[in-house]
């Protein structure tokens, strides 16, 4: 093995009431991609924050590049060569790419900033990584994937020796992930030490050399990736085995009625002539690359965006949906991919969130809200959906991603939605909770609900869908029954236009 660049040993950290890190150890070698895995709340982020000086440690030692270190701020860690590429990208959208990369280290001539030189320097960085981005472009106008590449370029420009990727693929499309991996391999060859935090098992197998698994603030162990199986790792993470088996046949009876029919829908550049049918008890998967128009289609159907043309039928009856209110009245519920922004009201409790979409039903006597009824229904759904919370008064911001998602589901069930649109239902949700969301979706369709599931994760699409629609550049390019669908076929349809 290569020379070790970073050793963290016996790291201990407590917050009031929580023992966040309990003698955690981690070792990273030069030219190694080291995965750090664990469920949400296992302590991965805390560990990285201790490393980069955002938190101070209670005990333990960090040896970096041959000497003991103790950083008191991210700035110090950065200066020493430890850089995080954050999960939530830290970019300033109004500034240009080059301005972002060199923020805090501007090249100056006297009082004036030398933007031309910074643009050149950025161009040079991109050349090193073999990526094509215009340094003069405003950061906010790049795709998430490209923004991330800029973050990586920034890390390299800091003369980093250790680069930490915090769930880098969470918002990327498959092609972007491939490009990310290409860059990570370049970095590995250049002898950087790389920490790779991710929930995605297939990525871990693909890109990492070793895996350290954390659970409940403790290190469970370190494995050599090539010598361990998926189940080995997952078992260490959750203490139980999860089998990710794809659905092989559709569970929808052949005579199930069509509950939603969309005909020749057009809405902007991203939704062109889209037609499909959803049947009772069906999970209809929408696959495609990021930007294929799936979310836009869902939003247009739901009335959140303006439709240019097209018809929507519910239970065979033509309906006019001009706004989300109309959609809710027709029994459609939409679970946004960006849960924190569009799904839940973070600073309100579970009750308030659950009854948000149909508060009218709980209003009586003038305009007073009947909180007893509200609480009764919420309690019932918290129990039915197995939402893990100390109580229904808990603020939603304090729940984990999986449990937040359940609150959103409860919201739509309470408002009697029969058609649920799940947009990236498990984004940012850890493995154990993912399983529960899947079970929940299966339960919902068994009870006669119908689900449209938009997902960028191929295993998820293959595992959950009865039927799969593939979109590419705003158009439907293929439709498969799950029995005939394969990853290759879907990928082909998703990239049809791009590949040529």
């Amino acid at each position: 093995m290569n020379e070790v660049i970073l050793t963290m040993e016996g790291i201990d950290k407590s917050f009031p009431g929580v023992h966040a890190l309990d003698h955690v150890s981690l070792e990273v070698a030069k030219g190694e991609v080291h995965a750090l895995m664990g469920e949400n709340g296992a302590g991965k982020s805390t560990l990285m924050k201790v490393l980069t000086g955002i938190y101070s440690r209670d005990a333990g030692s960090i040896v970096y590049d041959g000497r003991k270190v103790c950083f008191s701020s991210p700035r110090e860690a950065q200066a020493a060569g430890i850089v995080i590429v954050h999960q939530e990208l830290n970019m300033m959208g109004h500034l240009t790419v080059a301005q972002n990369i060199f923020i805090g280290r501007e090249h100056t001539r006297g009082f004036l900033i030398d933007d031309a030189q910074m643009n050149d320097a950025a161009r040079q960085l991109f050349r090193q990584l073999n990526i094509d981005i215009d340094p003069k472009e405003k950061m906010g106008r790049l795709t998430v994937g490209k923004q991330q590449m800029c973050e990586i370029a920034k890390a390299i420009s800091h003369e980093a020796k250790v680069i930490i990727f915090d769930e880098p693929s969470a918002a990327l499309t498959d092609t972007e992930i491939e490009q990310l991996f290409r860059i990570i391999r370049v970095l590995r060859n250049k002898q950087y030490g790389i920490v790779y935090i991710s929930h995605r098992m297939d990525e871990i197998k693909q890109i990492t050399d070793r895996v350290t698994v954390m659970r409940d603030g403790k290190t469970v162990g370190t494995l050599i990736t090539a010598q361990s199986s998926k189940d080995d790792i997952v078992r260490m993470m959750v203490g139980r085995v999860i089998f990710e088996k794809p659905k092989t046949v559709s569970h929808v009876p052949a005579d199930a009625p069509v509950v939603l029919k969309v005909a020749n829908l057009n809405a902007g550049r991203m939704v062109r002539d889209v037609s499909f049918e959803l049947r009772k008890g069906e999970i209809l998967g929408f696959s495609g690359l990021m930007g294929a128009g799936r979310t836009e289609t869902a939003r247009a159907v739901f009335g959140a965006d303006i439709k240019e043309s097209g018809e929507v039928f519910i239970n065979g009856k033509k309906v006019q949906i001009h706004s989300p209110q109309d959609a809710v009245r027709e029994g459609i519920g939409y679970l946004s991919e960006d849960r924190k922004r569009y799904g839940v009201v973070l600073k309100k409790n579970i009750v308030e969130n659950s009854t948000l979409a149909c508060l009218r039903r709980y209003v009586k006597r003038g305009d007073l809200i009947d909180s007893t009824a509200e609480r009764k229904d919420t309690t019932a759904y918290v129990a039915a959906l197995k939402t893990k919370t100390p109580g229904i008064e808990q603020l939603v911001m304090n729940l984990s991603g999986g449990n937040q998602q359940k609150v959103v589901v409860a919201k739509w069930l309470i408002s009697n939605s029969n058609i649920l649109i799940f947009d990236e239902p498990t984004r940012g949700i850890d493995v154990g909770a993912k399983q529960e969301i899947y079970e929940l979706m299966n339960l919902l369709v068994k009870e006669g609900k119908s689900i449209i599931m938009i997902s960028s994760e191929m295993p998820e699409i293959l595992r959950m869908s009865d039927r799969i629609i593939v979109m590419c550049e705003g158009r439907i390019t293929a439709e498969f029954d799950v029995a005939e669908a394969t990853q290759e076929k879907i990928m082909n349809a998703a990239t049809r236009d791009i590949a040529v």
Binding site: N90, Q99, I103, F111, L112, R141
Partner: protein, 329 residues
């Protein structure tokens, strides 16, 4: 070729700013046609002397706005600093140069105070500056014992400061203050776009957390935005003293809204991150033109308020629609 050059010129000026220039020309033509008395050189002088202090305040307040904040304290601040300045001259017998320095110094001090509270204690800028607006309103009266402010009149000792804004040669008044304004607009444009303080102020409005994580002492630069605002309020106080002979303590509330309005019309986003000093300049020109021109067609000050309000709503709506389109395209 010509088309490409044309396009790049349009791009450089910015669509919103072009629209304002268009509106300015149309309005000016309209007032000139509608009213004979508007078509006089003296109208320009009236307009410019009103414009100076609003312009200075507006340039200053652009910086807190760019951070996503606001500075409400500049309105009453202008009056307070100006009264204190006059107190220094009248009661303490100091030379006018000292009075000017103190006036500006007070603006800087209050700006620094606002900045520290917003950036270090992380109070919302609206609340912070609303409170300091009240504080400076009281402070002016207390420091000077409730006296009105009077700066040296023409012919008196120290009246040279009035020459900074208008010079009378052979009975003709020249608004030399415009030269000062144009210099300041140029300098502050460079500060905003080509120096670190400007860059970081834009970055704070864009994503302060990201700036901090980049290892920049964001609080320090955040404070600077409010110091700029206070500094320009101090300059505005001098311009105000040059325009009005008598400064009543406790007034000034509302002036800040004209200044903020000018910046917003000029395309500064209240959410921070984008805007320009030239935009602010044009925005204030528009407000001043309305304020001066409307009485000539028989509409009084109240109408000017209503029209300014409507223009701000229109400007922001256009700006938001364009941003949305940009994002979609």
């Amino acid at each position: 070729m010509t088309r490409a050059t044309g396009k790049s010129i349009i791009k450089a000026i910015g669509t919103q700013r072009l629209v304002i220039i268009g509106v300015l020309i149309v309005l000016f033509a309209f007032f000139s046609i509608a009213s004979e008395s508007f078509r006089r050189y003296t109208t320009l002088i009236t307009m410019s002397s009103y414009m100076y202090y609003i312009m200075l305040m507006s340039i200053g307040v652009t910086f807190p706005l760019l951070t996503g904040g606001v500075d409400l304290s500049i309105g009453t601040g202008v009056i307070c600093y100006s009264i204190v300045g006059s107190f220094i001259i009248r009661q303490m017998g100091m030379p006018i140069g000292v009075a000017m320095l103190v006036t500006i110094g007070m603006g800087v001090a209050i700006g620094f105070f606002n900045g520290v509270i917003v950036a270090k204690l992380e109070l919302p800028p609206f609340i912070t500056t609303l409170c300091s607006m009240m504080i400076v309103r009281g402070l002016g009266s207390i420091l000077t014992g409730g006296m009105s402010g009077v700066w040296p009149m023409a012919g008196q000792d120290g009246s040279w400061f009035r020459d900074l804004f208008k010079v009378t040669i052979d009975g003709t008044i020249y608004p030399v203050g415009m030269v000062l304004i144009i210099i300041l607009v140029t300098v502050m444009s460079i500060v905003l776009n080509h120096t670190r303080v400007g860059r970081y102020i834009l970055a704070i409005g864009s994503n302060k957390e990201a700036l901090k994580l980049s290892g920049v002492n964001a609080a320090r630069w955040h404070i600077m935005a409010y110091v700029f605002s206070g500094f320009f309020a101090g300059l505005a106080a001098i311009a105000y003293a040059g325009t009005f002979s008598n400064i009543t303590p406790g007034t000034g509330a509302g002036l800040e809204l004209d200044a903020i309005g000018g910046a917003i019309i000029g395309g500064t986003a209240m959410t921070g991150g984008s805007g320009s000093i030239i935009g602010t300049f044009l925005g204030v020109c528009l407000i001043s033109l309305l304020k001066t021109g409307l009485p000539y067609i028989g509409l009084q000050a109240n109408w000017q308020q209503i029209i300014t309000g409507a223009i701000i709503i229109t400007a922001v709506t256009i700006d938001m629609a364009r941003n949305r389109k940009q994002r979609a395209g």
